[in-house]
Structures are given as structure tokens and as C-alpha cells.
């Protein structure tokens, strides 16, 4: 494949421009209310971002997402690493995860709402569940792949088993853990929106579906664009963090992340 010459990041810009142009042409050609042209939807974005009400909603969404993500990582990493280092721990957790894995986390939302109500707690719990699984899985793989001889080298220096888990297994598995966290971050965004769609009270999902009910299609599309850009920005920020944290990793480990 030949690469576009010159400016870095040109290719994605061209792709986005193409997408918007296609949308614009299709919308004008088809001419139904449900598909407003890109220009009209984008024109709504500044208005939404200038409205304090929407900003409070977006802030509430991001707060729940950050909380759910942080809790998910804090629980999933230790569980995954211990599964990776102990066959007994893995045998205990594996069947549980197999059962939870195929269930759409949003499908648990009605039950969770019965326990915890329609407020922040329910939504944060759903985000937590969505984040946990990929992080557990990748931490498990990362923990399992830690070279035995590396642990032996530390043991010969006089390091005990609990310290080895924290000071050898954790950093050695970090590149793989961060692959899981990256997937977890995207899932946090998805579960955040779906949870707000089911329990409408506040948040970006709430704005989106209220606008849909009121047939404000420009706002619906504008919100989808905002959520998309939010996702891209979070992912890009995370990718920078990841590169800074595991720049030491062998290329084979870095390649597993895929992009860049």
C-alpha cells in the first residue's frame, strides 16, 4: 500500500471529510426528517456545548464513566493477575466469567435498578461490569505469560511471593493489562450510554433519547457526533498514556495493541 505523502494524520482527516460529505449528499438526496444533513446536525453542536444544562448532563455521564472504569480496573487487575498466577484462583473464577461473558451487561440493568434504584449507583455498576471483563481477561493472560525465570531471579534476590506479585508480575503484565484497559474504556462509554437510555434521568444518553422522543433529529445526530468525538478523544488520550507507561516493552507486546 502506498501511503499518503506529507502531513501526518492526513489520511484520517480525508476519511472523516468523506464520511461527512457522503452523509450530506445522502441526506439531501433522500430528504426525510429522520436523516438531517450533516451540516444541520453539526450546526447544533455549538449550541449543545454552550447550554449549561447539557454540560451538566455530559459531566454527570463522564463522572459515572470514570468511577465505573476506575472501580472496574481496581477490582479486575488484581483478580486477573491472581488467576494468572494460581491455577486454583483461575479454576474458581473462570466458570463465573464464562457465565457473565455473553450476557449483555445492559440486560442486567432492570434487575440492578430493582436493587439500587435509577440513580448513579445502578449506572455505575453496569459500567463497572462492562469494564471488568476485558480487563480481567487481559490481566489473566498477562499474568500467566510472565516468565517463570523472571520470578525466580527476584526470588533469588530474597523477594517473597506477595511482593513478587506486586513488583514483578504487575509491571511485567502491564502491557497486556493496558490492552484490556483500552477495550474497557470503549466498553465503559458504550455501557454508559445504554445505561442512560434504560434509566433516563441525566446524561448524554438521556439527552439523546429525549430529543428522539421530541423528534429533534438534528440534536439526536449532534449528540451521536459528540459521543463519537468523546470516544475518540478518550482513546487517543489513553493511547498516549499507554505509550508513556510501557515504552520499554518489546515490540511484540506493543504490536498486540494493533494501531499506531
Amino acid at each position: 500500500m502506498t501511503r499518503l505523502p506529507g502531513i501526518p494524520g492526513l489520511a484520517p482527516l480525508v476519511a472523516f471529510a468523506g464520511l461527512l460529505a457522503g452523509w450530506e449528499v445522502a441526506a439531501r438526496g433522500i430528504g426525510i426528517d429522520g436523516l438531517p444533513p450533516a451540516s444541520r446536525a453539526l450546526a447544533e453542536v455549538p449550541g449543545i456545548l454552550a447550554d449549561p444544562e447539557s454540560l451538566i448532563n455530559i459531566g454527570a455521564s463522564l463522572y459515572r464513566m470514570a468511577l465505573g472504569f476506575a472501580l472496574g480496573v481496581a477490582v479486575a487487575v488484581p483478580v486477573g493477575l491472581m488467576m494468572g498466577r494460581s491455577r486454583h484462583v483461575a479454576a474458581f473464577f473462570n466458570p463465573l466469567l464464562m457465565v457473565i461473558y455473553p450476557v449483555p451487561k445492559a440486560a442486567l440493568m432492570p434487575i440492578i435498578m430493582l436493587w439500587l434504584g435509577v440513580g448513579d449507583a445502578s449506572k455505575t455498576l453496569v459500567i463497572f461490569l462492562g469494564v471488568s471483563l476485558p480487563v480481567v481477561y487481559h490481566s489473566y493472560q498477562g499474568g500467566r505469560a510472565v516468565e517463570e525465570k523472571m520470578l525466580w531471579s527476584a526470588a533469588a534476590m530474597g523477594m517473597g511471593a506477595p511482593a513478587r506479585l506486586l513488583r514483578i508480575v504487575l509491571p511485567a503484565a502491564l502491557p497486556e493489562i493496558l490492552v484490556g484497559c483500552r477495550t474497557g474504556l470503549v466498553l465503559a462509554l458504550i455501557t454508559m450510554v445504554t445505561s442512560e437510555m434504560i434509566a433516563r434521568q441525566s446524561g448524554v444518553g438521556n439527552i439523546l433519547f429525549n430529543s428522539l422522543d421530541m423528534a429533534q433529529y438534528d440534536t439526536v445526530y449532534a449528540m451521536i457526533v459528540i459521543i463519537g468525538v468523546l470516544g475518540l478523544a478518550l482513546d487517543a488520550a489513553f493511547e498516549r498514556l499507554r505509550a508513556a507507561l510501557v515504552g520499554w516493552a518489546e515490540p511484540s507486546q506493543a504490536l498486540m495493541v494493533g494501531t499506531t
Binding site: 516468565e147 525465570k149 523472571m150 525466580w152 531471579s153 527476584a154 526470588a155 533469588a156 534476590m157 530474597g158 523477594m159 514483578i168 509491571p171 511485567a172 502491564l174 510501557v246 520499554w248 516493552a249 518489546e250 515490540p251
Partner: protein, 252 residues
């Protein structure tokens, strides 16, 4: 002094059958002695080393070091592995300092000793490199420095030069003899290269194919310090190599 007494190791295979890796090994290694364990691959020679290191428990028999039974790894026995096993998230300097800091040595003092060791293994100027930026030979030099740093009285070397090209291998063998001549640590050295074993060792333990038993122990009565070129022309060196090669061939 290392005393290996009637040590056997059985593994359970995936199919649930028992596999006898090493059988009834008895060996005493004196302080300051350089002993190589030589054998075909799969003869359990590395397993024996791991048992002395305390990384793997024996199925039967016992190992004592300085009269004390081995129950686990300890800083008196420093391992060097074929896989290097460096900490990839630490710089070269960080790797060499690691064991010292683990032993409670202060940062400044640890750094000073680490720098001196890196100079000894000819790696000045690479202190801030990460392991991924080094060649195999350089990685193994770092690993040797990392282990020497915490002053083990015994070095356990598990085919340390097995993954290196011939030229690097020769250079590291020369460097190892030089380092060893300084303080004459006790070394247990696992290899499958006859020349390497004869060049480095005071005694060569030849093992049989699976299950690993001691076939013969050959004393290498060559003068030290040894120089490779002089040695290659030496009749006794050639005789040892040929005799041990024959022993190995006889098992095929």
C-alpha cells in the same frame, strides 16, 4: 560447599504418567570450584540446577549448601538463565541495582556498585538503556552483573551462552573466566557444549540421557588462568574434549 545427596525428580506428564527426569544424583562441589554439568538435551541437567537453586523441590533426596538444607531460593545462590530474564521495565542500571536495593542497600551505594559491575562486563555507557534495546550478548552481560551485584557465594548458570552466536559466546566465555579468576566463586554451570565445559571447568559431570544419571565425572587438570589460544594447542585439552565427546557419542 554444595552437597547433592541422592536427588531424584519425577514430573507428572500431561497424560498423567510419571516421568523420571533425574535419578539418584549425588555430587559434592567444593567452595571455589567450577563444575560443569554436561549432557544431551532432555537429560534433566537444568532441573538439577533448579533444585540446587531452590526453585524446584526434589522428589527424593536433599541438597545442602554450607551445611544448611535448601528449602527455597536465596541470595547465597545467584542464578543466570539462558533466557536472561531481565526486568524489561527497568533500565540496565535499574536491573543491576535491583537485587542490591532488595537487600536493603541504599540507592547511592547501590548505584555505585552497579556502575562498577557494568564497567567490569564492558557495558559502560549503556546504563540508561532498556533491555529491548540490547543485543543478546549484552543482555546476558547485564544479567551476569545483576546476579554478581548481590554477592552470591554460588553462581548457578543455566546454559547462559546457549542462545548466543558463536563469536559472542566465545567472548563471554573469556569474560566469565576473567571474572571468575578475581574471586573464584563456586560455579555450577549447565551446558551441552563439550568445549565450553572443558575450557571453563575444574570438573565436568557427564550425564546420561533420560532419566539423567551421572555417567562419569572428569577432572580437568589444565593450568589456570586459562587462555583460549594456548589451550587449543594443548594436547591435554584436546584429549579431554575427545574423550568426553566419545562418552557422549556412546549414549546415542
Amino acid at each position: 560447599m554444595i552437597a547433592i545427596d541422592a536427588v531424584s525428580k519425577e514430573f507428572e506428564t500431561k497424560g498423567g504418567r510419571r516421568h523420571l527426569a533425574i535419578d539418584d544424583i549425588g555430587l559434592a562441589v567444593a567452595d571455589g570450584e567450577f563444575v560443569s554439568i554436561l549432557g544431551p538435551s532432555g537429560c534433566g541437567k537444568s532441573t538439577l540446577l533448579y533444585i540446587v537453586g531452590g526453585f524446584v523441590p526434589p522428589s527424593r533426596g536433599s541438597v545442602t549448601v554450607g551445611g544448611k538444607p535448601v528449602t527455597g531460593p536465596g541470595p547465597d545462590r545467584g542464578p543466570v538463565f539462558q533466557e536472561f530474564a531481565l526486568f524489561p521495565w527497568k533500565t540496565v542500571l535499574g536491573n543491576v541495582m535491583y537485587g542490591l536495593q532488595q537487600q536493603g542497600v541504599g540507592r547511592t551505594q547501590a548505584r555505585e556498585r552497579a556502575r562498577a559491575l557494568l564497567a567490569m562486563v564492558h557495558l559502560e555507557g549503556y546504563e540508561s538503556f532498556y533491555p529491548k534495546e540490547l543485543s543478546g550478548g549484552m543482555k546476558q552481560r547485564v544479567a551476569i552483573a545483576r546476579t554478581l551485584a548481590y554477592r552470591p557465594s554460588i553462581l548457578l548458570m543455566d546454559e547462559p551462552f546457549g542462545a548466543l552466536d558463536a563469536h559472542t559466546r566465545t567472548r563471554l566465555q573469556n569474560d566469565l573466566t576473567e571474572i571468575w579468576e578475581r574471586d573464584r566463586k563456586t560455579v555450577l554451570f549447565v551446558t551441552h557444549s563439550v568445549e565450553e565445559a572443558v575450557f571453563l571447568s575444574d570438573r565436568v559431570v557427564v550425564m546420561t540421557r533420560s532419566p539423567g544419571r551421572i555417567k562419569e565425572i572428569v577432572t580437568i587438570d589444565l593450568p589456570r588462568p586459562r587462555d583460549r589460544v594456548t589451550l587449543l594447542l594443548e594436547r591435554r585439552y584436546q584429549d579431554h574434549v575427545v574423550a568426553i565427546e566419545r562418552m557422549m557419542d556412546a549414549q546415542e
